[in-house]
């Protein structure tokens, strides 16, 4: 920490004080060592066995330390080795040491040469149940460091100060502003001596607002209607209609899905499908369409399981919402359960704090945050909340997959299930198979043990067992996936509170083997003043976390969301680092406007539609994107908003616009998803990768999102990486995109469809050309374009005939290639 400050280019509002505290040994609720009898039992029955049977491989004095497990002192035993806790006092099942000495799992049979006598095993059982008393203390006291961050000084950072409702600035050109937003923008422009741009022409404005609110181009009829409508409120009417359209949720829901790193698989080394993730996707789309207040929307996603509900339907919705916490990327092949759990908690903390607070709390996992006033302690306060939470994400254990999980069951019936059902006959058959395989498993296990005892290598049998275990898991999951009648259970991903919530220990440098002080569950200190909200002992604290996040006093939540909305409407946020409001992020270009929007957002009941409506009706949004040399020289990045920045269509809009123009677009949402139909499995093995590229005519938001295997139509045009919170997307302009537009079969098929459409609808070549322009660009071709197009047809058809094609074929190809050219043109791909 200290080492970097000299070089850091950013000024830090953090004061570092180095202090060394002795570690406090893990606090137990009841200290079993207070019991003299227990100690005596340990000394007599347990210690000698440990020394004789185990220390050779599990002691600091021994020859070697296997599996990272030491049994030298109580701390070491409780901590355990690479596989987890050796002993959990009072809990035989969780105590791996007991599993090992009872030979209950063929992977951990200890001592390996010969099982301990039953009487000794019984002693261990008794000892663990009495709380594993053990007087041996770790002789080395582990020092831990606390770099004290000055939280008070940290609060000076603009983003941690409560937003204040600013006075409306005075402006000279009083006729330009049509909303309060415009006053803030204009004041800045005037101060720099710049002019706002004129309003965009009607057609440009219509296309802009259609793509921004619905992600689709207007139809020809809609363009015509709007151009004809002379009502001064014509534009406002369009905006209101779009806000009510179901396409609004598909467009804006997708924005949130970027932020929520939505995906239908685990990603990472073993990429397993999440066949029920689509429920969350639909929940998000529905929430945006219903204009669910943003505070409610967040609360459901963080703590839906803890909310009161009046009906099973509401309960179901609340549970689906918590999928937000469950669908992160996971290393399902992680061998160490505690490592896996801490990584999952880390991912949850990272997602929640970045998505909602634009704060990178996860940086404080291993050390105090290097830039922001977030001590490691705060991280583990949050970690306690998520450690007190069970996460259900599905996936089945199989070869190389060790961390499969259950799913939750919805309290309502799936009207139209996506998973397969089984007949009673099939179920009985599977159960019989399961019985056979389990018998075979036992047989093989005992064979392996005998071989081992005889000193032979049971490697071959082990391999058979591994394959068998996979089959057994698969059968079990299939049987469990249906109810007694063979109907698929309505599974859902999500979270629930653990039965016994507990605080977390700070881990030195994030190392699971170095737990130190316990910290009470809580929140990020710098973001609240006064008392921290209290967390009840018997709850995880997620509900309180959600309440704290959505409290009007939280300085970040509203600001972060209005900034996201601004970013999606202007191509750039008022704070350009939309996922980072910390000290390494960028300062707002219009701090007062940001505060105005944030406070108004809260006051209007956190209504996203109201917010969007106000912005798109502003003169600022309605400006043309025309170039202006003087303004450009003064403000090339358009930070002051002297015009609307020209923008590239995102991947979904581009694909949907092609489908819309060709007439192929199926506006009906599909039920479930391709991944849901494919079911559980390992991508690339049991799940065929080709499912991703199967051609679909529905909107892009419903395409499968498998981590590391995105559909090409999305991937080539910079779709968000679903591995992390993505408030912005890359905007590249590379030959691979040109190649896609030139050669990709999907583009060609859409060109064919558009060609068919214009030929079917119009007779004369000129009318066909005009229709194609109208369908793709929402306008008539210019005279120059018409001339160029006609010349193209002549040249193309002649060349095609010269290559030996007959006239009809040459014409057909020319029309389709023309349609494709329109798709490929910069005008189709960019928005003014």
């Amino acid at each position: 920490m200290i080492q970097f400050t000299k070089n850091a280019q950013v000024s830090l509002a953090i004061v570092l004080v180095c202090a060394v505290f002795p570690a406090i040994t893990q606090a137990e609720e009841t200290d079993p060592n207070a019991d003299a009898e227990g100690i005596a039992f340990f000394e007599k029955k347990i210690r000698p066995v440990l020394v004789e049977q185990c220390f050779k491989c599990h002691s600091e004095e021994g020859d070697k330390i296997k599996g990272g497990l030491l049994l030298d002192n109580r701390d070491a035993i409780l901590r355990g080795g690479n596989s987890g806790h050796a002993v959990v006092p009072g809990n035989l099942q969780e105590s791996l040491l007991f599993t090992a000495i009872t030979y209950a799992d063929e992977d951990y049979e200890m001592p390996p040469k010969r099982k301990l006598p039953e009487a000794v095993i019984a002693d261990f059982e008794k000892w663990i149940l009495m709380g594993a008393p053990d007087p041996r203390k770790a002789d080395k006291v582990m020092p831990i460091t606390s770099l004290t961050i000055d939280i008070e000084a940290g609060r000076e950072h603009w983003a941690y100060q409560a937003p204040k409702m600013p006075d409306l600035p005075e402006v000279k050109q009083t006729e330009w502003p049509s909303s309060k937003i415009d006053r803030f923008v204009l004041a800045e422009l005037e101060e720099k001596g710049l002019q706002p741009s004129a309003e965009a022409d009607k057609m440009t404005l219509l296309r802009r607002v259609y793509f921004d609110l619905a992600g689709l181009p207007p139809t020809i009829e809609e363009v015509r209607g709007f151009l004809k409508d002379e009502d001064p409120k014509a534009y406002e009417k369009v905006v209101d209609r779009l806000l009510e359209s179901e396409h609004f949720g598909e467009r804006w829901g997708r924005h949130w899905l970027d932020v929520a790193r939505y995906a239908e698989s685990s990603g990472k080394e073993a990429n397993l499908t999440y066949p029920f993730a689509w429920r969350y996707r639909d929940y998000v789309i529905d929430s945006f369409n219903a204009d669910k207040p943003y505070d409610e929307f967040l609360t459901e996603q963080i703590a839906g399981d803890l909310l009161h509900s009046d009906s099973p339907e509401e309960r179901a919705e609340n549970l689906i919402a918590t999928g937000f916490l469950a669908m992160g990327p996971k290393s399902l092949n992680e061998g160490n359960l505690r490592q896996f759990t801490m990584d999952q908690v880390d991912e949850q903390i990272d997602t929640v704090t970045q998505a909602v607070l634009a704060t990178t709390v996860a940086c404080a996992r291993c050390h105090d945050h290097k830039f922001d006033p977030i001590p490691t302690k705060d991280y583990y306060s949050l970690a306690g909340i998520f450690l007190s939470t069970d996460t259900y994400y599905g996936t089945v254990n199989s070869l190389g997959v060790r961390r499969g999980s259950d799913l939750m069951v919805l309290p309502v019936k799936d009207k139209n299930p996506t998973a397969p059902s089984y007949t009673l006959g099939e179920i009985i058959d599977m159960e019989y198979q399961l019985y056979q395989q389990t018998e075979r498993q036992k047989e093989l296990q005992s064979q392996a043990r005998e071989m081992q005892r005889a000193g032979d290598d049971p490697g071959n049998i082990r391999l058979q067992l591994l394959a068998l275990n996979s089959r057994i898991s698969d059968l079990q999951s299939k049987i469990a996936s249906v109810d007694d009648e063979g109907q698929p259970r309505p599974f859902v991903m999500g979270v629930m509170d653990k039965l016994t919530p507990a605080d977390a220990n700070v881990l030195v440098r994030g190392d699971i083997d170095q737990p130190t002080d316990q910290v009470p569950r809580g929140f990020v200190q710098v973001l609240y003043t006064g008392e921290a909200p209290a967390i009840p002992d018997n709850q995880s604290g997620r509900l309180e976390l959600a309440q704290w996040i959505t409290d009007d006093a939280n300085p970040l939540t509203a600001r972060v969301m209005v900034n996201r909305v601004w970013h999606y409407l202007f191509g750039k946020g008022l704070v350009t680092s939309v996922d980072n409001f910390g000290t390494t992020g960028q300062a707002p270009s219009h701090p007062e406007l940001l505060d105005y929007l944030a406070l108004r957002f809260q006051k209007e009941g956190w209504s996203i539609k109201t917010l969007i409506r106000e912005i798109v009706l502003s003169s600022t949004y309605r400006q043309s994107s025309d170039f202006d040399k003087e303004a450009f020289l003064a403000d090339a990045d358009n930070a002051l908003l002297w015009r609307m920045s020209p923008r590239r269509l995102d991947a979904e809009s581009l694909r949907d616009a092609m489908l819309a123009a060709s007439g192929k677009l199926d506006t009906q949402p599909p039920h479930g998803s391709v991944v849901a139909s494919a079911g559980n499995g390992l991508v690339g093995r049991t799940i065929d990768e080709s499912i991703v590229e199967k051609e679909k005519d529905y909107r892009s938001v419903y395409l499968p999102v498998i981590r590391d295997l995105l559909p090409e139509s999305l991937d080539v045009f910079d779709f968000a990486d679903p591995g992390m919170v993505s408030g912005t997307r890359e905007i590249t302009n590379v030959p691979s995109q040109a190649l896609y537009m030139m050669n990709n079969p999907f583009v060609i098929s859409q060109a064919d469809a558009l060609a068919k459409r214009i030929v079917a609808e119009k007779e004369k070549p000129i009318d066909r050309i005009t229709l194609a322009y109208a369908l793709t660009m929402s306008r008539m071709p210019t005279e120059g374009e018409m001339k160029t197009t006609l010349a193209y047809f002549k040249r193309f058809i002649a060349a095609a005939e010269a290559e030996g094609k007959d006239l009809d074929a040459a014409r057909d190809l020319a029309v389709s290639a023309f349609c494709q050219a329109l798709y490929g043109s910069a005008e189709f791909r960019y928005l003014n």
Partner: protein
């Protein structure tokens, strides 16, 4: 912009229809296309293809770069920075670490003097060590932050706070490329995180200077190809006619809107894409390489297959005239399991890099190809846990070989334990300045005027490190 340019030096590609040049000329004489010449260097140079070769500022030592990017922060202490003192005091508390007194960790690997020069190189890189006499190991690197995303982005663009053009983009902008049928800047297997496309982005430079990515992190390169590289139904002639239509629509839009760098980018990327269709599949077809060569690169061996393919592709692209090629290997972030993981990473790269150097040499290409091996930072001399090292931005190593590099030498040094660069410290900006220098570019003169200001790769920093040059 002070680069010397002669507009007629290079023949322009004729697009079968109207040539780009004719088209742009006709535009410039009409609606004031060049009226904004002062806004952007690009506009002033419109009369010429932006990828055409350009004269450097002075005689270059290297014509192209192959950058072996080792993502994650490889430990210099276990590879190229020999620290006997560290080994001697291994296990003792050092003066480092946030709390001070963290235990030192001597390298578990042997260092051997290699080549005539006797450079000390770790046994991990015993094959690369055979080329010791070609390497200049810089032991005194430093970067601003010990954080992956910032350090990776700084290594590529010089600046992690703002989106800036990448090193490859600057090089391409400064020199153009000799093969107009291939992108001038190719990045193989780039990371998704750590700044993502920023690391091969063009920032405010024209979009055509952006790197073209082939393959993707975590995916096997075996199946990597440039997708959509051929058309299923149009001959090249017919596709050209189609493309001429697209381009005339684009130019009309450009003329309407006067200054639209994104549309210019679209126009240029179509031309490049069209030309790539012929050339890329040929260059990427490794099966054309003799079996012996493939084996030399370790192709077919599970451990080395992926990086071997990258190295061989890099050589083929270099041969075909690509200006800047980056290939990469991730997973160097060894907080834990250092010994096993480092061994593994080195095994994946040692033989392929050895083969690349050998191959370049036998083709007489090493003399004007600059090969760089570098990660975003190094690691601490003290242990993290018992078998790991933490990030270290204050001192680390990289090596360069080939074009203009003084082989068989080390440059600069860290302290006795390898914690901090103490002698001849080379900051990323200095390193960038040096690379440009070897390419014949003066980092202070390679500027791009954007929004009324001249920008440089090195901002206001950077000193050319003369000591690494032959």
């Amino acid at each position: 912009m002070k680069l010397h340019r002669s507009p007629n030096r290079v023949a322009l590609p004729d697009g079968l229809g109207m040539s780009r040049r004719a088209a742009l000329k006709s535009l410039s004489s009409g609606f004031g296309y060049l009226a904004f010449a002062g806004l952007s260097t690009m506009a002033a140079e419109k009369a010429q293809s932006p990828l055409a070769p350009k004269a450097p500022h002075f005689q270059p030592r290297a014509k192209r770069v192959i950058f072996l990017c080792m993502r994650g922060g490889p430990s210099h202490l276990d590879t190229f920075d020999y620290k006997p003192e560290l080994k001697k005091h291994s296990g003792e508390p050092g003066k480092y670490g946030a709390r001070g007194g963290a235990k030192l960790l001597g390298s578990p690997f042997e260092f051997k003097p290699s080549g005539k020069s006797g450079l000390h190189i770790s046994e991990l890189y015993s094959k690369v060590a055979e080329h010791a006499d070609d390497l200049c190991i810089v032991n005194s690197m430093a970067t601003d932050l010990p954080n992956h995303p910032q350090a990776v982005v700084q290594m590529h663009t010089g600046n992690f706070q703002f989106v800036r053009p990448s090193l490859g983009a600057w090089t391409l902008y400064g020199l153009g490329t000799v093969n107009e049928n291939l992108p001038g800047f190719i990045t193989i297997n780039p990371s998704i995180g750590f700044g993502g496309a920023q690391n091969y982005g063009s920032g405010f430079l024209p979009a055509i200077y952006q790197g073209t990515a082939i393959g993707q992190e975590r995916r096997s390169l075996r199946s990597a190809k440039v997708p959509n590289i051929s058309n299923s139904r149009l001959s090249s002639d017919l596709q050209r006619i189609q493309l001429d239509l697209v381009q005339s629509l684009n130019r009309e839009k450009l003329a309407r809107e006067s200054y639209q760098p994104e549309v210019e980018g679209v126009i240029e990327s179509y031309e490049l894409a069209f030309r790539m269709q012929d050339e890329v599949p040929k260059v990427m077809d490794l099966s054309k390489e003799p079996q012996k060569i493939q084996e030399m690169y370790g192709i077919g061996n599970d451990t080395t297959d992926d990086f071997g393919r990258q190295c061989l592709l890099a050589r083929r692209f270099a041969e075909a005239g690509v200006r800047f090629i980056e290939i990469s290997q991730g997973n160097w972030d060894h907080h834990r399991n250092l010994k096993a993981s480092l061994t593994n990473n080195a095994a994946q790269t040692d033989q392929p890099i050895h083969a690349l150097l050998t191959d370049l040499k036998q083709r007489d290409m090493l003399k004007d190809t600059l090969v760089i091996w570098a990660g975003e930072f190094g690691r601490t001399p003290h242990a993290q846990g018992t078998d790991g090292r933490d990030h270290n931005n204050k001192g680390f190593s990289l090596w360069m070989a080939g074009g203009g590099v003084r082989g068989g030498t080390t440059y600069g040094s860290t302290d006795e334990f390898g914690y901090e660069a103490v002698d001849g410290k080379v900051h990323i900006h200095d390193w960038h300045a040096t690379i440009l220098h070897l390419m014949g570019l003066d980092h202070e003169r390679l500027t791009y005027r954007y929004a009324g200001r001249d920008f440089r790769l090195t901002d206001v920093y950077g000193d050319v490190v003369k000591g690494v040059m032959a």
